[in-house]
Amino acid sequence: MLSLVRRFGTLIGFCAIIVFFWMQLPETFLTPRNMLNISQQISMLAVVAFTMTIVMVMGDFDLSVGSMASLAGVAAAIVFSNDYPIYAGVAAALAVGAVGGLFNGFLVSYIGILPFVATLGTLTMFSGGAFLVSGGKTIFGRDIPSGFSGFARSGISLEWLGLQPLHLPYLTILAVAVLILVWIGLEHTPYGRRLYAIGGNYEAARLAGVKVRILRMSAFALTGLGAATAGLMYASRVASANPTQGSGLMLDAIAAVFLGMTMSEEGEPRVFATLVGVLILGVLDNGLTQMSVDSYVREVLVGAIVVLAVASSSIGKQRA
């Protein structure tokens, strides 16, 4: 019984939150429209958190995802503003993400810098880079092709479900696609299993024939790619790019992964658990806003609820 609370404390907490909002906001909360809204609102955080899970599986961190998202968005916008087609901007942004991620991975894996320090350093570098590239300005208006910003505003019509005016947003679909890819990659391929092994014991994995260095580097590259994807999604959603817009993502993404980690037996990150973490953060934001809770009180509440959820599943768990 107690062990059930421990294992599923966070999930139970999540359900409790849903039920609470449903009772408080019977008309507007559990509606298809609102659910679709939430799914779109959290899609960027979700993509960052899912790909953050990849490095956290190895016991590492990537603090640079937020500024990488900004940098990628700005990079795409600059390409757009020079009248290149959309795919060129998207490709440039993704390339920036992959290269930045590889650089992180190189520092961590080949140079041997602790991930926390290495990515703290690159956080500053990417952020400065985003300011440099954009000249510190917000790039918007005619510079952003409407085809690009249109992506975030459209989706697949849900007429066939009888939900006439609604559509399933492309941003949501993209996030789900990333979720499935990361899930397969981490849990159903030798690649992912080896990342978990590295997280379990780096030295043992190495001696058991795992190519630890190259794997570790590649994982950071994937996280960088995810951050760049989120940066593009963000830029598309706000139809503009500025050098600070991603900075809120990092702490939230890490928080989501940690929230998820409370749900697995041995505290290892799993991407579906990360999804629950993201949902908790997203639903709290949405529901508390709808309930007109004061912004400051909302902040305190979100912090307290996160702590509570994690606490309920940590009580009595021994540190090994």
């Binding site: 092994a197 379990g200 030295e203 058991a208 024939g209 795992v210």
Partner: protein, 499 residues
């Protein structure tokens, strides 16, 4: 006269009982052996006695009166001193601090640490062990495993005025020590006994127990089976009480002569840590590597694993290949490795038995070259677990829940995942019980008969002589000699380390 009496000790983990109404009586001034198979509950009992594991039920009497046992403080108050099974040193603190840590630090002005006295105290403790080659100011991380164990032993010998030591509890202290270091330890134990203290001693080495202990208590599946005087019992009886079956405490016979076919030749090999290696290996041969502590035995294995780069000289395998360039390459070429320190180098403790066992073989156990298959992995692991007689409750169990010897078996089953071409074993039976040792010996012999070549180190010299065809003697990180084991005695082998 009975000094300590533990009764009704029960400790459950989930449905399984690690201890089930176990008991233990220790007399003043005796060396008492605690024996049992891997997973019998010895370490759990010791942790209960130390107050670091909370039992479901337990009563403790000291000198006939009941005393509480709520936490480490209670154990310290009774003058109990512990060496736990796993090497629990703090690597980045100095030797001196690791030694005095469990006691009160000497202070000046009641606040600041008096470093001179810390080092004096630690030095005195090491001196009791007759150890003079360890500088108390060194970082403990820089010491070899054997020296770290000596530090840990010294930590129990620190004098304390507040709570004079009455009972020393040692959970497999000799597993990481060489023969000479063991002898020093037994001399100290004899001294402790003379001074009136008692010693509770756990070991899987029958010789040690037979020669150095006064009485023995035997556990099986968390229950007390019997307590008897060593003088009034025999090896065979102890083993039978432990395992419930009759097992010979010897080495399985060779099942066939090694094939004539050459496996590899080593010419003037030099690496960063070893030099002058020059020998050849036949297919199916078992080569032992022996020497004093830190003479480079492990590094010979590391060279074959691709973890020590050759600086000069050459190794040629019969298929014209040279040494692997990295462990990942080695495993691909079916060179399997069982590392010396299972917890640090072998296991992902929080991951499951399956995950640990299949790690180097993930690629082969998958489907369509991309996806992995949990089902195949479980079947694979289940089959091997049976071969090594692993004691576990489910295949998904995380490894930290296994007893020390069973953890060793998990590491061993990893190496057996695919029939190896070359098997590198660094102290493969460390902490493994008698029965399981015999199982491992039989497995290695079987592999050898099927053509797998083996290189193994061990600080248990009879084991090396019993298992190997030839022994490579290392001295000062150089090849000193290579001898046939036919007719070799442990005493003669030991002599070769020094001469």
């Amino acid at each position: 006269m009975t000094f300590l009496k533990l009764d009704h000790v029960t400790k459950r983990y989930g449905a399984a009982a690690a201890l089930d109404n176990a008991s233990l009586e220790i007399e003043a001034g005796e060396v008492h052996a605690l024996m049992g198979e891997n997973g019998a509950g010895k370490s759990t009992l010791i942790k209960v006695l130390a107050g670091v594991v909370r039992p479901d039920d337990c009563s403790l009497h000291i000198d006939g009166s009941k005393v509480p046992l709520e936490g480490p403080d209670d154990a310290a108050r009774q003058g109990f001193r512990f060496i736990h099974q796993e090497l629990n040193i703090v690597p980045h603190l100095s030797v001196a601090e690791n030694i005095v840590m469990a006691q009160a630090y000497p202070r000046r002005f009641g606040l600041a640490v008096d470093w001179r006295r810390v080092h004096d105290k630690a030095g005195a403790a090491l001196e009791r062990l007759d150890v003079d080659h360890i500088d108390t100011r060194r970082k403990t991380a820089r010491l070899s495993t054997g020296d770290q164990m000596l530090v840990k032993i010294a930590a129990t010998l620190v004098s304390s005025d507040a709570h004079p030591a009455r009972l020393y509890v040692m959970d497999e202290p000799t597993a990481a020590l060489t023969g000479q270091e063991c002898d020093k330890l037994f001399a100290v134990i004899e001294g402790l006994k003379q001074s009136g203290a008692s010693v509770l001693f756990v070991s899987h080495r029958m010789n040690e127990v037979m020669q150095n202990c006064d009485r023995v208590t035997i556990y099986r599946d968390g229950r007390t089976i019997e307590t008897s005087r060593i003088a009034e019992t025999s090896r065979e009886r102890i083993i039978e009480a432990m395992t419930g079956r009759a097992i010979r405490d010897t080495y399985p016979a060779r099942t066939g002569t090694p094939a004539r076919e050459m496996f590899c030749t080593v010419e003037k090999l030099r690496t960063k840590h070893v030099d002058g290696l020059e020998f050849s290996l036949k297919r199916g041969e078992i080569l032992g590597v022996a020497g004093l502590a830190e003479s480079g035995q492990s590094e010979v294995l590391h060279a074959f694993l691709g973890d020590e780069k050759p600086l000069s000289g050459a190794v040629t395998f019969q298929d014209k290949q040279t040494l692997p360039s990295a462990p990942s390459v080695a495993w691909k070429r079916r060179i399997a490795y069982v590392p010396r320190e299972r917890r640090r180098e072998g296991l992902m403790l929080r991951r499951s038995i399956v995950d640990n066992a299949v790690l180097p073989h993930l690629g082969q156990l998958g489907s369509a070259r991309i996806f992995s298959s949990r089902r195949k992995e479980r079947i694979h692991t289940g089959a091997i677990a049976e071969r090594v007689r692993l004691k576990y409750s489910r295949l998904g169990q995380p490894c930290y829940q296994l007893s020390g010897g069973n953890q060793q078996k998990v590491v061993f089953s990893r190496a057996l995942g695919k029939t190896p071409e070359l098997l590198l074993l660094d102290e493969p039976t460390r902490g493994v019980d008698v029965g399981a040792k015999f199982d491992i010996y039989t497995l290695v012999r079987g592999l050898s008969a099927a053509g797998s070549t083996t290189i193994m180190t061990s600080s248990d010299l009879p084991e090396l002589i019993g298992m190997c065809d030839r022994i490579l003697v290392m001295r000062d990180h150089r090849q000193h000699a290579i001898v046939e084991t036919d007719g070799l005695t442990p005493a003669r082998l030991l002599q070769m380390f020094y001469e």
